[in-house]
Amino acid sequence: MSEDVVILMISVSTLLGTIGLIALIWAVKTGQFDDHAKFVDATRFDNEEDLQAAIKLEEKKKERREEIEARKNYRPPD
């Protein structure tokens, strides 16, 4: 067994592990495990209706952003 193989094996496995670790850290940091119940409920209650509601909420936010944008760029006709 040559040194190269050992280096390759160690580095690849460590790299894969690190990717997993980073994903986990990201999930913890963004609060995805804060509410343990919600995690389960999300799958239990998931249906089309809720997706619609989520989209509507997104649209509401977008609309507001656009409105603010429009107000900012508003120039009275001279």
Binding site: T14, D35, A37, K38, K61
Partner: protein
């Protein structure tokens, strides 16, 4: 009669009292309203999600909505975002299951102007983001109330949030540490194999570099906590556990780099990560059991009005509490909380002073009487003249006192901390001496350095670091299973050292509510009529009679009364189909010229009931002592603990209760801050005091005691200042808490003793240079395991009733 569940809240009632609509049954108008609202909004699937879970009936709360839009409220609770959105943190009341969370979120999302609403199921806390141009906060709260829940604000910048943040940061550090140590371990296996059977230097180099790469983030990211601790220790000239861990890990790390580069000797990277990981886990266990909620004052201040109605030249206006000056005339409506002290000028009303004295009996006040802030006006409109401004009022001074006592709450020096201080210093000194000794003895710098480091590594702070948290964590979980919630692990140790127990009377030794002791029933008595009458009042006596009637008579039909009147401080009157019902005390009977041909002389509260001016029943009510109180007090006294009673009630009834349960020392007629002074007096004498209480009036005393125990259904404030909560409210729980804390403390001492003994054996070996990396790693894990095993033995503690 058959029992049917309410379509909305699932509580079961007999069929004839329900509101029937198509095939649905509703227990009240509120539930019916919510049901229709949800269906019309297309949220009817809520009931599928709800299943069989029981909810609170949807009681419609109204009023006081304006306060959410006031300037004072905004400054206190609302955060403004850059893009003009406002954010508020709310606690939602009435959430029972995940379906409730779902419903609240959906309803808020459907509301125009609400941009974001997330509710945490575990703690019922919600964050709402909304656009103030589209909707005021009061409308949002109204929406939540319209579906049968209630919401009140809280300030998130408090200790609880900070504690959650620390926990999270520890968690991340542990993730990295565990990842690093796991990976280094399997590289180390190859290393150890090579140590015995020979390994080519080139492979050894590869392993060394890989271990180095893995160990670096563990030492500097996960181990940052120890470096920080060591730095603070250095600044305060204290050698602590962190100093030992940081110096041990760092020197082993530097030496390993040296060995790696020069390709001579063994690397110690695995020891570096092991130490960091083990001690970090120990620290995490401590952080994990830190107090959850210290948001004490919010529950008082959150419920107090920020504005009051002031009468000036016959014009009513809302004035902010801060702007009230002495002499202003303030109008109080029924149900309002007093925030400013004063003297009644017109009107008369009963006041609930339970938050000040702990007694539930309302107090009748007329013109000229003093009104204390913190009490609640119960039944009519009263005008009074302010005798103090906001900052001088009793309520504010109580809150201030409370804040103060929480900050300077006595903390007993923790055993482990003091031991580890001495331990760390001696190990560091021994390591240094070893290095110097070997340097002169063997005249070899490298070898001297290895031996010196091995002393620090083998001294293994792991077992010492795990000794306390492991034992207390087991103790806490044992207590939790018995309905005793310790909010922080260290409280077990403090409680084990306590020698004085202070008990509140009402609500702690006694049930805190009157119950019927004796009932004399005469001809013509109709329990259904009496039930209907007492149902109209919230007076504790009425409630006592109500629960008595419910337990004595199985099913009573519900009758609708007319002309219901509550007669101040005397009783109630009403009519039912031409018959006049009258219920109240002896004075009420006398004023109505009813002949009471029975004794009116009793040390208990009396309640008379008359139908058409004929006396038909006489009840004697008293506050009953909790079950098992006397035995528990006896057992605690047998442990050698002195028990005193502190109560706001008058001396006579205090002594009566005290003799019944076997307490000899009683302090009666104490105001909230006087209770705290009593506790302080015991402190001055060098006692460690445990205080048990349940009410707002106990809060200051609870906060100034060493360990505060609150009853599970006590006032929110009492629970939040307390260190221990008794969920099942049995006095026996206090005794069990004592036993458990003493057993746990013993385990802590055993663990510390063991890890010190281990060091007494291992350190001399290391000093003599007999220790190699394999032995160090093995003994390290083994000693930690023994500590864990010993802590588990606490679980074998037996309680009688099990």
């Amino acid at each position: 009669m058959t029992q049917v569940p309410c379509t909305h809240c699932n509580l079961t009632f007999s069929e004839d009292v329900m509101i029937i609509e198509d095939e649905h049954y509703f227990c009240c108008k509120g539930c019916q309203g919510v049901y229709h609202l949800l269906n019309s909004e297309g949220l009817g699937t809520f009931y599928d999600k709800l299943g069989d879970t029981k909810l609170q009936p949807a009681i419609q709360v109204s009023g006081d909505l304006e306060k959410f839009d006031l300037e004072g409220f905004k400054n206190k609770y609302i955060k403004e975002h850059e893009d003009g959105l406002l954010e508020v943190n709310l606690i939602i009341e009435g959430i029972h299951c995940s379906a409730c969370v779902w419903l609240n979120e959906k309803v808020l999302h459907k509301t125009d102007g609400v941009m974001e609403a997330t509710i945490n199921y575990s703690n019922n806390k919600a964050k709402v983001l909304w656009d103030p141009e589209e909707i005021p906060l009061s409308r949002i709260i109204e929406t939540i109330r319209s579906i049968g829940y209630n919401a009140y604000p809280y300030d998130p910048a408090l200790q609880e949030e900070r504690a959650a943040k620390t926990r999270k940061s520890y968690y991340l550090r542990i993730l990295v540490a565990v990842f690093g140590s796991m990976n280094i371990m399997w590289l180390a296996v190859a290393h150890y194999a090579g140590y015995f059977s020979g390994i080519q230097q080139s492979f050894k180099d590869i392993l060394n570099v890989a271990e180095f790469i893995l160990a670096t983030p563990v030492l500097f990211y996960s181990g940052f906590i120890f470096f920080r601790g060591a730095y603070y220790g250095y600044k305060n000239k204290v050698v602590n556990m962190d100093t030992l861990v940081a110096s041990g890990a760092l020197s082993a790390y530097i030496y390993s780099i040296y060995a790696m580069i020069t390709q001579r000797g063994e690397v110690y990277f695995d020891s570096v990560v092991m130490i960091i990981t083990f001690v970090l886990v120990g620290k995490y266990l401590e952080v994990l059991s830190k107090k959850h909620a210290v948001d004490t004052l919010d529950s008082i201040m959150g419920s107090t009005p920020t504005e009051v109605t002031v009468l000036k030249e016959n014009v009513k206006s809302l004035v902010s509490v801060e702007n009230i000056i002495i002499g202003d005339v303030i109008e109080l409506k029924p149900g309002e909380k007093v925030v400013i002290d004063g003297k009644v000028t017109t009107g008369q009303a009963s006041f609930d002073e339970s938050s000040l004295t702990g007694e539930n009996e309302p107090i009748y006040k007329k013109v000229g009487n003093d009104i204390l802030s913190g009490s609640i006006c119960l039944d009519s409109v009263v005008q009074y003249k302010a005798t103090a401004d906001a900052s001088g009022s009793l309520l504010t001074s109580i809150v201030n006192l409370l804040e103060e006592s929480i900050v300077k709450k006595p903390r007993i020096e923790q055993l482990a901390n003091s031991i580890s201080g001495y331990f760390s210093t001696s190990i560091l000194v021994i390591a240094l001496l070893t290095f110097v000794g070997w340097y002169f003895y063997a005249d070899n710098f490298e070898q001297a350095l290895i031996v010196g480091i091995s002393v620090i590594v083998i001294a293994c702070p792991c077992a010492l670091g795990l000794a306390t948290p492991m034992a207390t964590l087991v103790g806490i979980s044992m207590a939790a299973k018995r309905g005793i919630l310790f909010k922080e692990a260290t409280f077990l140790e403090t409680m084990a050292k306590s020698d004085v127990l202070a008990l509140d009377k009402t609500g702690t030794i006694t049930e805190g509510k009157p119950s019927v002791l004796k009932a004399d029933l005469l001809d013509g008595f109709d329990p259904a009529l009496l039930l209907a009458l007492v149902n109209t009042s919230n007076h504790p006596i009425s409630k006592g009679i109500k629960s008595y009637l419910k337990s004595e008579y199985n099913v009573l039909s519900t009758l609708t009364l007319e002309e219901i009147k509550s007669i101040e401080a005397k009783g109630l009157s009403a009519t039912y189909k031409e018959t006049v019902l009258l219920g109240g005390n002896a004075a009420l009977m006398q004023t109505s010229d009813i002949d009471i041909h029975m004794s009116t002389d009793s040390e208990n509260s009396l309640f008379f009931f008359a139908i058409d001016n004929n006396l038909v029943a006489r009840f004697e009510l008293t506050d009953t002592i909790r079950e098992g109180a006397a035995e528990a007090i006896k057992e605690i006294q047998d442990l050698g603990i002195k028990i005193v009673m502190l109560t706001g009630d008058h001396a006579q009834s205090a002594h009566k209760v005290a003799t019944q349960v076997g307490i000899t020392k009683v302090h009666a007629k104490l105001l909230p801050h006087e209770k705290a002074q009593m506790i302080d007096k015991y402190h001055e004498k060098g006692h460690v005091v445990v205080m048990v209480g349940d009410g707002i009036n106990d809060a200051i005393a609870l906060a100034s005691s060493d360990i505060a125990i609150a009853m599970g259904n006590g006032a929110d404030i009492a629970i939040s200042v307390s260190d221990v909560v008794l969920l099942d409210e049995k006095p026996k729980g206090i005794f069990e808490a004592y036993r458990l804390s003493r057993r746990t403390f013993r385990a802590v001492k055993e663990n510390l003793g063991f890890s010190l003994l281990y060091n007494v054996v291992a350190v001399p070996l290391a000093v003599m240079g007999f220790v190699n990396p394999l032995v160090a790693a093995l003994s390290m894990s083994l000693s930690s395991l023994i500590v864990v095993g010993n802590s588990m033995r606490i679980k074998r503690l037996k309680f009688k009733d099990k």
